[in-house]
Symmetry: C2
Subunit: 349 residues, 2 copies
């Protein structure tokens, strides 16, 4: 026998490229084109490096307290992690522990099936309708848990709270996770529903609307019970997940509400400006409520456009997957970056 | 049925306290009493906060490259994580995937059984001998994997490389993990053995000897194959575990070798100075090769000493566990802190 026989073998998630080439227009991982809030810079300037010798607060008190004040949610109903991926991964491990399959859309965040495989969780991918919409009735079947993003990725489509609540009403025996990574760019958060549904976990992140992808901060809201279970699992995995800079700078991120609103508004304005320009060029796309547009061209193949853009120094995201191989997911950058994109697309299509 | 039935329920690890009271002498979590290297301060001062809007390099290139240069190990034989807890947790998930029990000492790092429980890994705790030594023959039995710290925690005792190699020779069908969190304070690392034993993982950390507990950086060395499997699991869990500050400041930590050597030497000198002082006061203890001493008093109970120290603002670590409930694990602080400790102990015993 070889030691390799007992290794857990998995097909890992492939993140979008992080190219090191300068002068590239990077529209492939839905980062924010604007810097983090000035309050983050001030927190960095006043950070005392000597404190790094000490472990961080394992309860992430300062960050959770800032989130508690900002969102008006009690501290014991908040969980934080190393990006929403860490939060979601812990939630899969903690809550999806049944022999019945968990349910999620066929076109969705491509990490869901990877986590399910890693933890040996059975799953069933529910097809979106032909307009890439979630059909709520499909989630009425027996299952071991439900997860979907709202707005969905990579489609960018948001569902209203009535639909979220309908899925909750029909799934009170399992945990339902609403992954709201893009909620600040449109749509209504399910946060107000956590007091009504003990089994609802709402997950958000600082990586998109708050321009802190490099700091890795995600968080979740839920009932006290749900958050308690999640914390038990987290403390069984790694007591100190959040390092000192992420706790201090994370809390500071929330201090500048005006800057945050301004940044989101600019990104939304750019997105709405770009939509008709793409349509004019022959692109079709679901009406995005996020910081990206998921578009395909009526005649030119997604692969060709992807490669032609790349040769011009513009990187977008594309998946060789059923139903979406013709689509490109284009992050909303600055107005200038989007103008360069549109000029390049004019040449290509 | 309730949603709670499918929750993974665990008894979490309890980390040492991180008290917020000032003027406390904190000798309970084996932190370094000296600040991180000056090169860390320089890296912090030159860190560009605007880059936080971008995801970090998912491959942790800069940190791995610095480790590769420092330890003279190829990059594809190095894995990094959010503290050695993250590295070890991932290793448990990846490698201990058998129906046979994994083996570790009965007195050891108290996270091992927590991880085993979390991932539902069967385990067998092998008693140390009466002098708290590992008996290598006990590890010759059939098993699903082996892990032990060297030096062991909380005993502080180091085993020589011959013993480590003997255990490897008798366990070539499973993965063997040597947890070297305290190796820089004494003993020889098993690192040179990774080219000889494809199934050996050597885990180290920046949290102790490098005064970076607050930054959460752990790392592991192993064969290319072993590290490959670990990376697959990591990329199935969270692509971006290491945030930008930890990558930049982590790499900078290794830049100042002289400071590192000086810090370790000071801690070792303090430890050796304190040993006879404790013995004079009636304490007995295994001969520590780490940055702590695991001591019990000949007549006064561990609980009493723990509480009396606490009332004097000195915090050490104690476990209410079989065989070790009379012992205190005392971190080596500065010479001044240790003098205060010795004065307090004189009053108590």
């Amino acid at each position: 026998m070889s030691w390799e026989e007992n290794v857990r073998k998995v097909v890992p998630y492939t993140p979008g490229e992080q190219p090191k080439i300068n002068n590239i227009i990077k529209l492939n991982t839905n980062e924010c084109p604007y810097p983090p809030a000035p309050s983050v810079k001030r927190a960095m300037d006043s950070f005392e490096y000597e404190t790094l010798r000490l472990y961080p607060d394992p309860n992430s008190g300062s960050l959770i307290s800032a989130l508690s004040d900002y969102y008006n949610v009690p501290s014991d109903q908040i969980f934080v992690g190393v990006g929403s991926d860490d939060v979601l991964s812990m939630a899969f491990l903690t809550f999806f522990n049944s022999d019945k399959p968990i349910l999620f859309p066929d076109i969705t965040y491509s990490f869901y099936d990877v986590w399910a495989d890693l933890y040996k969780i059975p799953y069933k991918q529910i097809p979106l309708d032909e307009d890439f919409r979630i059909k709520k009735e499909d989630y009425y079947i027996e299952n071991g848990g439900v997860i979907f993003p709202n707005p969905n990725a990579p489609t960018g489509l948001v569902e209203d709270l009535d639909m979220v609540e309908d899925i909750l009403q029909n799934n009170n025996e399992v945990v339902v996770i609403v992954d709201e990574a893009y909620i600040d760019f449109g749509g209504k958060s399910a946060l107000p529903l956590i007091d009504k549904y003990e089994n609802l976990l709402v997950v958000q992140t600082f990586s998109k609307s708050r321009a802190m992808a490099g700091m890795r901060i995600g968080f979740a809201f839920g009932s006290k019970k749900l958050i308690g279970y999640l914390n038990d699992a987290k403390f069984s995995f790694n007591s100190y997940t959040m390092n000192r800079p992420s706790l201090e700078l994370g809390a500071a991120t929330l201090a500048d509400k005006e800057y945050f609103n301004e940044t989101c508004s600019r990104i939304i304005a750019t997105r709405e400006r770009v939509k008709p320009l793409l349509a004019e060029l022959g692109f079709v796309f679901p009406d995005s409520s996020s910081n990206f547009i998921f578009a395909k061209h009526k005649t030119v193949s997604g692969k060709k456009i992807f490669e032609e853009l790349r040769s011009r120094g513009i990187i977008v995201r594309r998946w060789d997957l059923p139903r979406i191989s013709e689509y490109l997911r284009i992050t909303i950058g600055t107005d200038e970056q989007m103008d360069t994109l549109i000029s390049a697309l004019k040449e290509i299509v």
